[in-house]
Amino acid sequence: MNWLQFSSTSLSAAFFLYLFATVFYMVTLAGKKWSKGDPKQHEARWGKIAFVTSTLGLIAHLLFFFTRWIGSGQIPTSNMYEFVTLLGMTIMIAYTIIFFIYKKALLGMFALPLAIIVIAYASVFPSEVQPLIPALQSNWLKIHVTMAALGEAFFAVGFAAGLMYLLRVIDFKDTSKNGKRAQRWLEFTLISIMIVIGFIIAAFGFKGMGYTATFQQENASVSQVGEITTTTSTVEYTMPPIFKPYNSEAVEVQSFLGIQDGLLETPSWFNGVNSGRKLNTVVWSIIVGLLLYGIVRLIIRKPLGAAIHPALEGIDPDDLDEISYRAIVIGFPVFTLGALIFAMIWAEKAWGRFWGWDPKEVWALVTWLYYSAYLHFRLSRGWHGKPSAWLSVIGFVIVLFTLVGVNLLIAGLHSYAGVN
């Protein structure tokens, strides 16, 4: 077995250990009500088991990271697969640090599933080691990407605790206008998470079926000297084309539920790399996510939030509020250093300017400004509890957009990190 094989085995091990740890956290919580023994003792025992399992998972994950580094001779942070697995790992690191501060094991109930979803998302991307293109051949790749990911991971843990807080405190019996609105938004948040899971299911499902479709796309572009050139390119789809590429002809489309050609055409203003394929993927994710949500609703026969709410009743909401805030406070300087300052140093070296209003740079700045607004709201305007929790949820959406959305929708200097 060589380093790289060992590395990918380690990642699988980490993935399953995280899954087991999540189950153990559920046992910790559920058992508090049902266990015949002393609930406190039960929580302490199972909480410990769950934490040990999740730590073993993190160790396996770290093994994955370092053996891949040794095996490939370059830090595994250079493409989407490597970056997203890194993000999963940093989320676990952040969770572990927060655990050592607060010793609140139950945060793992939400932090671990988040890490699991992130790793599952990573495995949608091609996992081969790709030698570095010239732009990435720099020591700053190691420092900038890992620090930025760690900062974002703390925001992710802040989000997990914030979401838990909302699920804990939002009263599902409240029929007032405000109460209803809070319930609707919380449900919307949960549906959004379902859509992410929907994406992973769709990606693996169609991959398993070996689905492909091919289109010939004609692109017109205006060169720097103003000449218009037309090029044709082949676009490969791995999901049935609900949206085919802009200005394209079907070459070969496997039939799926009678879809022979793209049903619709991608609008021209989606201007990222392979925008048609990405839009199609998003649409499929929404469809599968909503289907999944529908099935769950049919089984539990009430809003998802209302089903989770009672399970969290034993948890002190103040603790969740504080953990959410603290995670963000800890992450903020790390993010500032990794995603802005180190990014500026590297940009100064590679492109000659420390700041150039590239979309990825702008969105890192937006994230930073957003969280600085969050901190000021909290400190000076006294936004605690629910408003603060909502801000942590919205903040994570901005983080995700910066990480994935920018590459998906906007062309720019960071678009080398191809998104499926």
Partner: protein, 558 residues
């Protein structure tokens, strides 16, 4: 706001107008606040900010506007929303072409939304007046907010009274009270000892029954140091618009050429540009033969001009000052000048040829003679032939009127017109047109142009060794950024302040014992969890065991 007229506290301390909690004993000064039972708002220790004046004039009002954190938050929110809008479509500045016309580009590429985008000026978001104004306002707010708070806070923390008012202690978010048996002075000392172990600085007043324990006060200055750093960063951003502070130009250098670098005294010579691709053994299966690039590099020699600089007639005297192999992540740096690899062109460029002149009737050839593209000689001799250069076109073409023209000064399609004298030719010479590049000979039908002469003589290059050409052209980005070094200073202070303010917390614990009754209050700006643990730890050392959470007075604000 209704301000209390008498600002003198019962403890005898004279407070400034706008003070919420007495600076000395901490007693709430406003009547409403005094009567309520809610935990106290401890922001800035309840001192009056500079902006809280009884009768503000215009300047005060402006000061008040910028000193408001609420306004600052609005400005931050507006800035990030504005920044988001700027990423919807590419910014006009990302197009390098001179012919780029945003008024055409946006509507044509994006339709109506593009038209609106252009109309709103969002194609230049980050250099628009409103965006810059927001940045300037945030900068102003950073300065004023900080001054407004840091001085009163500094004063308040520097002259803290140890014995606090009862309602101040009882209304802290972490508080505890209990009857004590035993000696009050001894208990206080013991409690102080326990807190010293936790790194607190403990002071006990002269009666021995009131205590103040304080830790990490320096973390309170974190936000202000951070703000100083941010102000520097903003100033750097604005300083880049000072002429000459931010040079951003491009230069193309063909292999072997030496070219001046615009606006400077430097010249750069390219000793060759190379693209290196990964071998298939280095690539995973799906990238085989994909032409993945391993490196772009240009060997550059930098010269400084010492004489005849910017002289149209004399050759400049150059002295070599620096040499560097430029890679994408390794620019040439010399003093403030930086040269970055930006782009390249692998189209070869012809520099000179050494052709032979052939007498087609006898088959004899003479020469070679050396013909350069740039500044060629006017007269050549090759055996019995004498050539006089009477015209040249570097980028030959025929315009719509059928006249010969040159499209550019680059030798893309060079053509030379000679007047040739020699055996079998007219006495005053015959005109011959010569295209050094084979493809141009065919494209422009050299033989047709030269008519009968093309049967008598030919000018020919024999073998590639007689052609001097540049294989590639490198494009470099010339940068001078005089503000950058200050940016790193700003970034350093920004991080220093952030670290101080977030990873350490200012914790204070006050207690007093009156007639065997202990009253304790504690405050921190962050991490109540840790503070309560400290209070409980020290209580345990004094024989009182309790759940730290029970110290929470309902406020419990992170």
């Amino acid at each position: 706001m209704l301000l209390p007229v008498n600002t003198k506290c019962e403890c005898g301390h004279q407070n400034a107008v706008g003070t919420v909690l007495c600076e000395a004993c901490g007693k709430p000064l406003e009547k409403e606040l005094l009567e309520s039972n809610e935990p106290l708002e401890m922001r800035y220790d309840g001192v009056a900010r500079r902006s809280q004046k009884a009768n503000p004039d215009l300047l005060d009002k402006i000061w008040n506007f910028f000193s408001s954190v609420k306004i600052a938050i609005y400005m931050i929110v507006l800035t990030f929303i504005g920044a988001m809008l700027g990423t919807i479509y590419p910014q006009a500045s990302s197009f390098l072409s001179n012919t780029f016309d945003p008024s055409v580009y946006y509507p044509e590429t994006y339709g109506l939304p593009g038209k609106i985008y252009y109309f709103l000026g969002l194609h230049n978001t980050y250099s628009s007046w409103w965006f810059i104004a927001l940045l300037v306002m945030i900068g102003t707010s950073l300065v004023i907010c900080s001054i407004d708070r840091v001085l009163p806070l500094y004063r308040a923390l520097n002259k803290q009274q140890i014995r606090k008012h009862m309602s101040f202690l009882k209304r802290q978010k972490a508080t505890y009270s209990a009857p004590l048996a035993g000696d009050a002075v001894e208990w206080t000392t013991q409690y102080g000892q326990a807190l010293r172990k936790k790194g607190y600085k403990v002071t006990i007043d002269e009666t021995g029954t009131a205590l103040l324990a304080e830790k990490n006060r320096f973390s309170r200055w974190g936000p202000y140091i951070n703000h100083i750093g941010l102000i520097l960063v903003l100033l750097v951003l604005l300083a880049r618009s000072i002429p000459g502070w931010n040079v951003d130009q491009y230069v193309s250098i063909a292999d072997g050429d030496t070219v001046p670098i615009a606006d400077t005294n430097y010249y750069a010579k390219s000793e060759g540009f190379k693209v290196e691709l990964y071998d298939n053994e280095e690539l995973p299966e799906e990238l085989q033969n994909s032409g993945r690039v391993k490196s772009y590099k240009t060997d550059i020699v930098l010269y400084e001009c010492t004489e005849n600089c910017h002289d149209d007639f004399e050759r400049p005297a150059l002295t070599e000052v620096h040499r560097h192999t430029i890679l994408v992540n390794s620019p040439l740096r010399y003093k403030e000048l930086k040269l970055h690899q930006f782009d390249f062109n692998l189209t070869p460029r012809i520099n000179a040829v050494s052709p032979m002149i052939v007498n087609l009737e006898t088959g004899e050839s003479y020469g070679p003679f050396h013909l350069t593209m740039v500044e060629p000689e006017l007269n050549y001799e090759a055996g019995p032939y004498k050539l006089e250069l009477i015209g040249k076109y570097m980028d030959f073409s025929i315009n719509s009127q059928g006249e010969p023209i040159t499209l550019s000064n680059n030798p893309n399609a060079p053509a030379f017109i000679f007047n040739i004298k020699g055996p079998g030719l007219a006495d005053n010479g015959e005109v011959y047109m010569y295209f050094p590049l084979e493809k141009d000979k065919v494209r422009f039908s050299q033989d047709v142009i030269n008519r009968e002469l093309s049967k008598k003589i030919a000018i020919k290059v024999e073998g590639m060794e007689n052609v001097d050409y540049s294989a590639a052209t490198t494009y470099l980005n010339i940068r001078i950024d005089k503000a950058a070094k200050y940016l790193w200073v700003g970034a350093f202070f920004c991080m220093l302040g952030l670290t101080m303010g977030t990873y350490w917390q200012h914790r204070r614990i006050w207690l007093r014992i009156d007639d065997g009754q202990l009253t304790l209050g504690a405050h921190t700006n962050k991490n109540w969890y840790g503070l309560r643990a400290d209070v409980a730890f020290a209580l345990k050392r004094c024989g009182i065991e309790l759940d730290p959470k029970s110290l929470d007075n309902g406020g419990h604000k992170g």
